[in-house]
Amino acid sequence: MELFANLHTGFAAVLSLEAIGYCFIGALLGTLIGVLPGIGPAATISLLLPFTFGIEPLPAMIMLAGIYYGSQYGGSTTAILLNLPGEASSVITAIDGYRMAQQGRAGTALAIAAIGSFVAGTLATLVVAAVATPLAEVALGFGAPDYFALVLVGITTCIVVANGSVLKAFAMVALGLILGTVGLDQNTGIGRFMFGQAGFADGLSFVAAAMGLFGLTEIIGNLASTDAGARRTHKVGSLIVARKDLKAATPPIMRGTVMGSILGILPGSGALLASFLSYSVEKRVSATPERFGHGAIEGVAGPEAANNAASQTSFIPMLTLGIPSNAVMAMMIGALLMQGIQPGPSMLERQPELFWGLIASMWIGNALLLVLNLPLVGIWARIIGVPYAILYPAIVVLCCVGVFAISNSAFDVYVMCGFALLGMVLLRLGCEPTPLLLGMILGPMLESYFIRAMALSRGDLTIFLSRPVSATLIAVAVVMVVLTCLPAIARNRDRVLKE
């Protein structure tokens, strides 16, 4: 069957000692940085990108895959041990995970998170392998209006899962769209909002924005809060998972995998949506829902599985369509472009061993993490236990050097500071930074596809509705927005997100 032939190609390309070695280093570094409070996967990947520049494309991608999973796992670890989610989708894990840690069951929580993630990742890899080729073929028939609608869905999912008011999230996206226009306009060649600075020509640096909006703002927030000094890690305890815990965790893992696999494909915050949905479903389906919020293992197993499955399948739109699902995927695309690889339908045709090699390395990254991190969790816990007063200056310097390293210019450090200021002020006013970042990344695409669509239809807006694909996608986006605004769902959503 073609599926297995493809997977075989991939694994053959990737199962060399050298490749696995790179994956291992990537996973190690990714977890190490990902475990640091305040540095989530997006910031982690941007910090470690320079490490992949000197290597060949395939090993570089494999290392990136390792970094990717490492950072995700690091984020889950801090969520469980410290109630400090490394990124948005670990927020759900923290709810019951941290409770379990407080009850002395941190080891079980971490183990189930790792196992659930691995199972979900394995199944999701099969999904990716199965879906990639047909989707790429379908995508070859996609036109500008369809791509536009796809990006629109991406933006909409981001607004829908944003913490806090939908109105503010919408505004943040709009702001992001505006910031995304800074630089030389692709279509006309004129400079927009550049103030005569050559440094703006390629637009505002994505890495600088991510570091400023997430890394630095987090540090400022931590310093300002009164308990910044005392960060107690709970004892990890035994990692051996009791049989009844495993039994209890299996159905949520299965359900979470399915949800995550499907939602991850949609551009946008699929992972967050998936873990959020998984938590709600598990609570609804459980015979004893009152345990949720107080250390229910299902509340960790399901969302973690969903999260990882979605993380895996979110490679699909990136690899087959060239559209980043989220901030992290945008970094991966950036990294691939640096290596001279253009993700998209043509990649499947022209460089199949690269394509399938990446998919295979995704699974290897997953496996390595399970093998690597469970024994090492004690070390990670100790790193987290290092006093914040020592960690945060290191993180500040790391951000500065990292941003500088990407483009060899101090200009971007200034950009990072600008974003930090903006992010900090807006955060205090109740606005989430993620929609802003995504607006910045997806904005240029949205504009470019819109212009092309309008050129095709000569200014006729109904082209979006007359094509089946774009019409369906736009309908999906509208339904999502309407559902979120309905009072019943709004209340439910606020309740879960506020926890």
Binding site: P50, L167, A389
Partner: protein, 153 residues
Amino acid sequence: MTLSVKNQQDMGCGAIFVALGALCLYLGRDYRFGSLAAVGPGFMPKTAAVILIGIGLVLCLKALFGAAGPKIWIPLKATVLILGACLLFALTLRPLGLVVATLLTVVVARVAHRPFNAWRSLLLGLAIALVMTALFIWGLGLQIRAFGPVLGG
């Protein structure tokens, strides 16, 4: 009838959105908006700016007539110090080199954390500078000097 701001967050947000949107419209006033058939460079920014202003106004109204919300509080000291540390880094990196730039950045950043111990901060700065040099200059080959020209490097 006296209007009082019930929700500071919404008011602050709304005001900033209106201001930013207006700023964008002003700065981009020369960018051609174009038409649907021939979209110009001003289309996207101006449309987004109008949306931003619209939402800003709605938020301001919500702030006056809606439910009450928490007070705003901006951590001024931490912000100034951390951002100042980064700016210092950017300014001193080329002339003074990685080691000194890191040292200065760490010390300034540490002031934000009470209690501030100058010697410990210096020590930490040196340790971090060493790690950064090893990692980025020796490990990754970053094109920056450990000790810059001003220091005779």
